[in-house]
């Protein structure tokens, strides 16, 4: 998908909130010198990035630049690929998540993930949201579980659309609703960080706008990292942006600076549409 595929239905810049004071704060997650190898092939070279609470960090770059690979390092989803090897240090609240002593199951509950293609379980809407809290034992009773489900669906902006049909299959919803269901599923386990891997690339512009709105609302509660092909989207939703190219992180900084006054020529070329 090229950046031009998604029609911007909002003016690219004015709605964005670029206020960023993260320089003075302790980051929620830090990555230092992260490299990823798939077999012999190096997919990511020496990336260092901070992810802050209450902020949206976006990763942009052309296809195959390693931005999704990096995102998947943050909750160790790369563990599921047998040939993948990650080196470097990634911390969550100063705890090294790459160490063997880190409990991956707990890490993935604390660092939730939303995928490119909406992937609800082929179960009821209620079960989709209730699954996470249930396996982690977050609810003591059925009532409490129902409360968590309602709260999560409300936060994902889906409650009003599905409250009368919670027993229907999650796969029967429209694409945009499915993606919001996946977001509700991710926030139901009360994560600290939410990773989004091109969450809008399979959605139409209206559904995209809803998800972007949702990201704005969720920002106050979670640290969010989002991978996107769509530069306007990065400009609209994020406060900090990292530009990846050919496995390298070329530039990382405030979204306002990346989009108006990039330091690197390659960044300039990419955001002006010279390539990508």
């Amino acid at each position: 998908m090229t950046p031009n595929d998604t029609v911007t239905i909002q003016p690219p810049v004015p709605t964005a909130d670029w206020t960023d004071d993260s320089a003075n704060r302790v980051p929620k997650m830090t990555a230092r010198g992260v490299s990823v190898f798939y077999g012999e092939k190096q997919a990511l070279k020496d990336v260092s990035i901070d992810i802050h609470e209450d902020r949206v960090t976006s990763f942009i770059g052309p296809s195959g630049c390693g931005k999704s690979t990096f995102l998947r390092c943050l909750n160790r989803m790369n563990d599921t690929i047998p040939s993948a090897r990650v080196i470097g240090r990634i911390t969550l609240d100063d705890e090294d998540i790459t160490s063997a002593s880190m409990d991956v199951v707990q890490l993935r509950a604390r660092v939730g993930m939303v995928f490119q293609k909406p992937n609800p379980f082929p179960k009821s809407i209620f079960e989709n949201v209730a699954y996470g809290p249930r396996i982690h034992g977050l609810a003591q009773s059925k009532g409490e579980l129902a409360e968590i489900v309602e709260k999560s669906l409300k936060r994902a902006g889906l409650w009003d659309e599905v409250k009368d049909r919670l027993e229907e299959s999650g796969t029967a919803l429209s694409g945009g609703q499915q993606q919001r269901l996946c977001i509700a599923r991710a926030i139901a386990v009360d994560p600290e960080v939410i990773l989004m891997d091109e969450p809008c690339s399979a959605l139409d512009p209206i559904a995209t706008a809803k998800i972007e709105e949702l990201i704005h609302e969720l920002r106050g509660r979670y640290a969010i990292a989002i991978v996107t092909h769509n530069m306007q989207q990065a400009a609209r939703v994020s406060q900090r942006t990292a530009f990846f190219h050919l496995g390298e992180m070329v530039e990382y900084g405030k979204t306002s600076e990346i989009f108006t006054n990039p330091r690197e020529q390659r960044t300039q070329d990419y955001i002006t549409g010279r390539y990508g």
């Binding site: 890490l107 939730g112 995928f115 379980f121 699954y131 599923r185 386990v189």
Partner: protein, 430 residues
């Protein structure tokens, strides 16, 4: 310069555009050939279907018309005066718990022969079947008072007379049948003994129940071993096992196992279960174990394919909310793969159900005259029973063989129906 331009005109996209001639003769002919080929393909498909339906109809008609006789039998009236017969039966002993033994000790068989000869002449002495003896024994045990008077009993006729009544036979039997018919001493009825009895030497006394029960027990052993082990093996190989030379070797071995002729599994069962483990011969336990070995690779292959078709996005989704590997597999992957696994299991079970060769080798071809009471009792199974009966010389076995085939096919139909019902139920749940 003009020459160069003309040459470059041959290159795609550079020359002047020549419109495609959609309506010229060559195109029309190509089109016609395309349609002709499609028509021919469809017709040959239809012909293949018709041919197989024809074969199936022929098979069903053949089995049905021959086998239906196996479920019916002729009974003849036997006037018998127990007071005149030289049976020495103490009515007091008949009220005790050993009544059956006492009756069996008496020479009922000759009493029947004498009564038959007295009623219908000397040719009729052997007209009743071995089964008649059992029925008479049961009657006497149930009601000893009948020994004190004269009765007319309806008892199943022997195989020769039965055939003569149903089709045609030798002159003596035919004469006897027409005489019985004249005296209204012959009636047609349902052969309950065929559904409740076991193997016998007299074709008119044989039953299918022993083999049916043996089949049921054998399949029970097979499915309760092959299904869980097969499913767990496929889950482990597909989801947990590392990809290396060892797992490759295991995969190749399992694929080859599925293609091994069944008689080899019989030899394996003979060597391992009977020789080494010293399990009982002819038992459904050993038969079930042997068939489980045979079915296991089929279930593993079907299971692995079904697990492979579960989309990886579901795994990602479950891992993404912090499910452990085990939870991903048992909450999401396995339920989604279950319909596919069940389909494979149905195929494996149908094959096991119809298997004869390996069971012959572990001794299930023995003559077993009583239905098995457990998995370690001697038993036989339906296909082996069919094989044994088809080998018999007595003409009475022909219709019994066909009848047994009908029972086997019905058993298969019921089992597959159950499996398909289960599969659809699991599919609906998702």
């Amino acid at each position: 310069m003009t020459d160069v331009r003309a040459d470059s005109g041959a290159l795609p996209g550079t020359g002047p555009k020549v419109p495609t001639r959609w309506t010229d003769a060559a195109m029309t002919q190509r089109l016609r050939r395309r349609y002709r080929f499609e028509r021919w393909f469809r017709l040959s498909g239809l012909a293949a279907i018709c041919l197989s339906v024809l074969f199936l109809a022929f098979l069903l008609y053949n089995m049905g018309s021959k086998g239906i006789g196996g479920f019916t039998r002729y009974e003849a009236a036997l006037p018998i005066d127990f007071t005149k017969s030289d049976l020495f039966l103490d009515p007091a002993a008949l009220r005790g718990p050993d009544a059956r033994q006492t009756v069996a000790g008496a020479d009922l068989s000759s009493a029947i022969s004498k009564a038959a000869a007295a009623a219908y002449g000397p040719d009729a002495a052997q007209m009743f079947s071995d089964g008649a003896l059992d029925i008479l024994t049961d009657d006497i045990v149930r009601d000893p008072s009948m020994l004190t008077g004269q009765r007319t009993l309806w008892l199943p006729v022997g195989s020769k007379i039965d055939i003569a009544a149903k089709h045609d036979s030798d002159a003596a039997s035919e004469k006897l049948v027409s005489m019985l018919r004249q005296k209204h001493a012959l009636k047609w009825g349902l052969n309950t003994q065929f559904l409740t009895g076991s193997d016998a030497t007299d074709p008119s006394a044989v039953g299918i129940w022993g083999a049916l029960k043996g089949t049921f027990l054998t399949i029970l052993v097979t499915i309760s071993l092959a299904f869980p082990i097969g499913v767990l093996a496929s889950v482990y190989l597909e989801e947990f096992a590392p990809r290396n030379r060892w797992t490759d070797a295991i995969e190749v071995s399992i694929n080859n196992l599925a293609a091994v002729p069944s008689i080899i599994f019989g030899l394996l069962g003979l060597a391992v279960f009977l020789d080494i483990m010293d399990l009982p011969r002819s038992a459904p336990l050993v038969g079930g174990l042997t068939l489980a070995l045979m079915t296991f690779p089929v279930i593993v292959i079907a299971g692995r394919n079904a697990i492979k078709t579960v989309p990886p996005s579901i795994r990602d989704a479950a891992l993404g909310v912090g499910a452990s590997k085990m939870q991903v597999v048992f909450h999401h992957v396995l339920p989604l793969a279950l319909p596919g696994i069940l389909t494979g299991t149905i195929i494996g079970m149908a094959r096991a159900l119809g298997e004869t060769a390996p069971l012959l080798l572990i001794g299930m071809r023995a003559f077993v005259a009583a239905p098995p009471n457990g998995v370690s009792d001697p038993a036989t199974v339906l296909p082996v029973q069919i094989f044994l009966w088809s080998d018999e010389v007595d003409r009475g076995f022909v219709e019994k063989t066909s009848a047994a085939i009908i029972v086997l096919l019905l058993f298969m139909l019921v089992m597959n129906g159950l499996a398909i019902y289960l599969r659809n139920r699991f599919e609906r749940r998702w």
